[in-house]
């Protein structure tokens, strides 16, 4: 839920710039996949703080529970078993909104102010303005937003924007028992990630690295991955995510161009009438018909 006490940097379906006098610090959440034990304390903390409850589901034979993000489950652990270097590796990724610098959801949203980006980088949905069209789902490169079947509003992780506004770290960060989720300024998180990556490399994960994909301008949720060269291993984390060219085409230059064309056609018609006059029936033809009738 959007919080007005944070500075807004971008607003959906708004063509004028947001207030820019004040700049707040860019923040980030860092998820160290190598330190995650899959306890789901973050999921619990998320539901508790945000006061949303996913319905109790069924065990489908894997640890993922719930099995997907929903309007009530804004973060889920995704468990993947892979064999690397003849060893079984259990990769556990905490999935949820990545809070892109260039958010595809915000770009696609047709409702003014339904999606906003704060100057600290957090992307938030303002359900009061949401019209339920699902364009955010279409625009998101990470398949994150979910439309509620109950109220037709879109929901996703808020990065606890309400907590951030009062200088508190997100609930999931607070709950993590292993320190796999860290929170701070984006710069600090990059530094911290650097240390973690150096450590992993020392331990033989020479492809360890930071996931902060440049295709979406970087994200405000970043991962430390042991196999940063293959993010797809982690339950299909996109390799080089960016806003789809189709979405850019749909929401980019074509909008003003098409609007211009429509305006031109309407005005063109008006001026055609003004310049050429109406296309009336010729007097001779009227007279021919009158003559026929008289005879």
């Amino acid at each position: 839920m959007a919080l007005q006490s944070l500075d807004i940097k971008q607003r959906s379906a708004t063509t004028t710039p947001a207030p820019q006098a004040r700049q707040t610090m860019e923040i980030a959440k860092l998820i160290d996949v190598s330190a995650c034990i899959g306890c789901k304390a973050c999921q619990v903390a998320c539901m508790e703080w945000n006061d949303v409850r996913e319905e109790v589901g069924h065990n489908v034979g894997v640890y993922d529970n719930p099995t997907d993000l929903t309007e009530n489950a804004w973060t889920v652990m995704r468990f993947t078993e892979v064999e690397e270097n003849n060893k079984l590796e259990w990769l556990i990724r905490k999935d949820g909104c990545m809070h892109c610098s260039d958010p595809g959801c915000l770009k696609s949203c047709p409702a003014p102010g339904a999606i906003i980006q704060y100057s600290n980088g957090v992307v938030d949905f303002h359900q009061e303005n949401c019209i339920g069209c699902g364009y955010c789902v279409t625009g998101c490169p990470f398949n994150v937003p979910r439309i509620s079947k109950k109220d037709n509003k879109a929901y996703k992780c808020t990065l606890c924007s309400d907590r951030l506004a009062v200088n508190q770290a997100p609930a999931c960060v607070k709950a993590c028992p292993t320190g796999a989720i860290e929170f701070g300024s984006k710069e600090d998180m990059k530094d911290y990630a650097g240390k973690r990556i150096a450590d992993l490399k020392e331990r033989g994960y020479d492809k360890a690295g930071l996931y902060d994909p440049p295709g979406v301008g970087g994200t405000h949720v970043m991962y430390v991955l042991h196999h940063a060269d293959r993010p797809g291993l982690y339950a299909g984390l996109p390799e080089n995510p960016s806003i789809s060219p189709l979405v850019s085409l749909w929401k980019g230059a074509t909008k003003p161009l098409a609007t211009f064309a429509l305006g031109l056609a309407a005005l063109g018609s008006l001026f055609h009438y003004v310049i050429k006059g109406p296309n009336e029936v010729a007097r001779e033809i009227e007279e021919e018909i009158e003559k026929e009738d008289a005879s």
Binding site: G132, A258, T259
Partner: protein
Amino acid sequence: MIRDPKDLPRYNAAERANHWVTGICFILLALSGLAFFHPAFYPLVQLFGGGAWARIIHPYLGVILGIAFVVMFFRFWQLNLINDADREWLTRVGEMIEGNDHNMPEQGKYNAGQKMVFWSMAVCVSALVISGLLMWRAYFNFPVGIVRLAAVVHAAAATIMILVAIVHVYAAIWTKGTIRAMWYGTVTRAWAKQHHRAWYRQMTGK
């Protein structure tokens, strides 16, 4: 105005009703669709009771338009087949736009311009209905790649359809004595003789 009993019937009541069901749906669809298309048009959602209502209503209107258009298509498609006179008409459309239509080839019930409107509408409506269904999240959940393509097709086809509709409406306003054909069904013989001489001959035997 006393209607001349010798006026020529151009559209019967069912054809007129069919046309206006389509037309009303089109206007409402264009207004609500434009609201989602560009922020400048977003205030149009107020005509529908707000953004959420506009989003709810838009696809249902689309379904009604789709059905009404299909019925209309089968009423008129044979009259809209393109022939040699149409091809000549199209190459000389400049004269028509100039308002100098005296030497244009004789036209049947529809001139080549009207036929172009008919076929462009048919293509646009097909594209809009199919892409619209793919984007209808209240009922469907297609793979995101398909929905993205559908969104582009929907926006492009809608733009073309509104452009064609502007031409369609303007042509009716510009050509005096035309709109009554769609209000109460008849046109004067003089109108028919001037604008659709082949049809005039067919109707009057002259």
